[in-house]
């Protein structure tokens, strides 16, 4: 039996998966290389969304001009986060690193509340809905999916084709040996932080088209991003990619038969069960 609604939900799941994969990629890249989880990742996205809001809605910049600026802004936030918070704690206990980036999360929420207030803001851009043989697909989602995919391919090419990219892949495998091959690890960490932040900035540009921004918007993406990363095997970029689409499909198709909230319930149940069966993630490497 062919069900057009199921197909629509499936396609929407893929579109959602692309954006989730972009979120997971940034987190996994940073964790894989620096070994520190950026708990405040979604709050960095929030800062990017506010950046877009002010540039586009308040200062009336064109969207395509504002986007690179917002991406650069969050990239710089990533570098500052590394220099100010992570670098002094590189050899500290993991729990201290978690607490520190968790503190940055609370700081950014509070800062946004003070600077921008608690109002819900949006760009006021209405994206059309596309009708394809009785299915309704949001243009904003299609755009987000396409851009996220392009961003991920760019990162993939960078990691596989350049020396800096090779060094980033290598340092995630053995961090002690890198300096002895002539690599300045600090530089690699900074480049990684810049890329991780820029990916958050790219996500901000895409999400600001679909969601209102407010100081606690991070809670909408943060937890799910970390669950996806853990589900795929923390630091495993391909695992995160696969897990994003599994999660998105469960949410989207699960939400079809009941309320959307049930889609999330199914996804979280799936996550919990998987953690019991494969505690190191779906694509965990044997170590």
């Amino acid at each position: 039996m062919f069900d057009i609604y199921l197909l629509e939900a499936g396609i929407n799941g893929i579109l959602l998966g692309g954006v989730l994969a972009l979120l997971a990629l940034g987190c996994n890249l940073v964790f894989g290389v620096i070994d520190v989880v950026w708990i405040c990742y979604a709050e960095m996205i929030m800062m990017g969304m506010y950046g877009m809001f002010y540039l586009v809605s308040v200062y009336h910049w064109p969207f395509l001009l504002a986007a690179p600026v917002a991406i650069a802004l969050v990239g710089i936030i990533g570098v500052l986060l590394h220099l100010i918070v992570i670098a002094p704690l590189l050899n500290a206990a993991p729990i201290n690193q978690l607490l520190a980036t968790g503190g940055v999360l609370a700081f950014l929420q509070a800062l946004a509340t003070v600077l921008f207030g608690i109002d819900f803001r949006n760009l006021g851009i209405r994206m059309p809905v596309i009708e394809v043989s009785d299915m309704y697909l949001s243009y904003a989602r299609l755009l987000a999916f396409g851009t996220a995919l392009a961003g991920m391919i760019a990162v993939y090419l960078f990691l596989s084709r350049t020396y800096t990219g090779t060094a980033i892949r290598a340092i995630s495998q053995d961090r002690q040996i890198m300096p002895l091959m002539g690599v300045d690890s600090r530089k690699i960490y900074l480049i990684t932080s810049l890329i991780g932040g820029s990916l958050a900035g790219l996500a901000a540009c895409l999400l600001v088209l679909q969601y209102d921004v407010h100081p606690f918007i991070g809670l909408t993406f943060g937890p799910i991003t970390f669950m996806i990363c853990v589900l795929g095997g923390l630091g495993n970029m391909i695992g995160g990619f696969v897990a994003s689409f599994i999660f998105a499909e469960i949410i989207s198709v699960g939400g079809l038969y009941m309320d959307l909230e049930w889609g999330y319930v199914f996804a979280f149940v799936f996550f919990i069960v998987t953690m019991f069966v494969r505690p190191r993630g779906l694509l965990a490497r044997k170590s």
Binding site: Y163, P179, L180, D184
Partner: protein, 250 residues
Amino acid sequence: MLEVSGLIKRFGGFTAVSNVSFKVEQGEILGLIGPNGSGKSTTFNLLSGTLAPTAGTIRFMGQEIGGLPPYKIINRGIGRTFQIPRPFKRLSLFENVALAGYYGQGQPSRTQAFDAAERALDMVGLTTDRKAGIGGLGAAGLKKLELAKALATQPKLLLADESLGGLDEAEMDQAADMLRRIRAELGITIIWVEHIMGVLMRVVDRVMVLDHGEKIAEGLPAEVSADPRVVEVYLGTDASEVQAAAAERA
């Protein structure tokens, strides 16, 4: 070329290297031997920058390098291999060596790094096939990869750490031969730390012996193996092995 004087390294109350001084001349192969815990590895770590000296100076090509970070020391021209090979398992064989070639030479052009990697792989006799992984390499292959990585950084001085460990006798002779060829063909000066003394004594020009962090002897292989203090340190089979090897050489 290398001039070490008054080198000291303490870990808390423990002195791992105690007032060691030595010189290495351009083009020679210096053997560095000593029992376990004698300070050989610490000395290597001080020379390659993994550890900073507590006191003393390390002058390389006329410039002080003691306490510089490892990546700067590599760029000055000191390469090193590791006792236990530590390749990047998820990179290809060629990527492993090219990465060392790129960063070890202070990030030259892409082609320069590729050339250095190809020459290094040729030198040690490994494939330059870009697609080859490192999964199939045995103990001897991994030692060769270590050497290729160090050579790709275009060193003037090579620190070779236990290049023979885990090899059978034929492979040991091959490895020793390779060090000789590296000096002869590439003009690279070598300091060689080794446990297996027989092979070392046949290859090196001079030997330095460490015990409890102190230099107890230095000189030609024949002199050193006749030194009563060295014999005392290497009681039993090792001592006779040393003397046999030195005699064979003479």
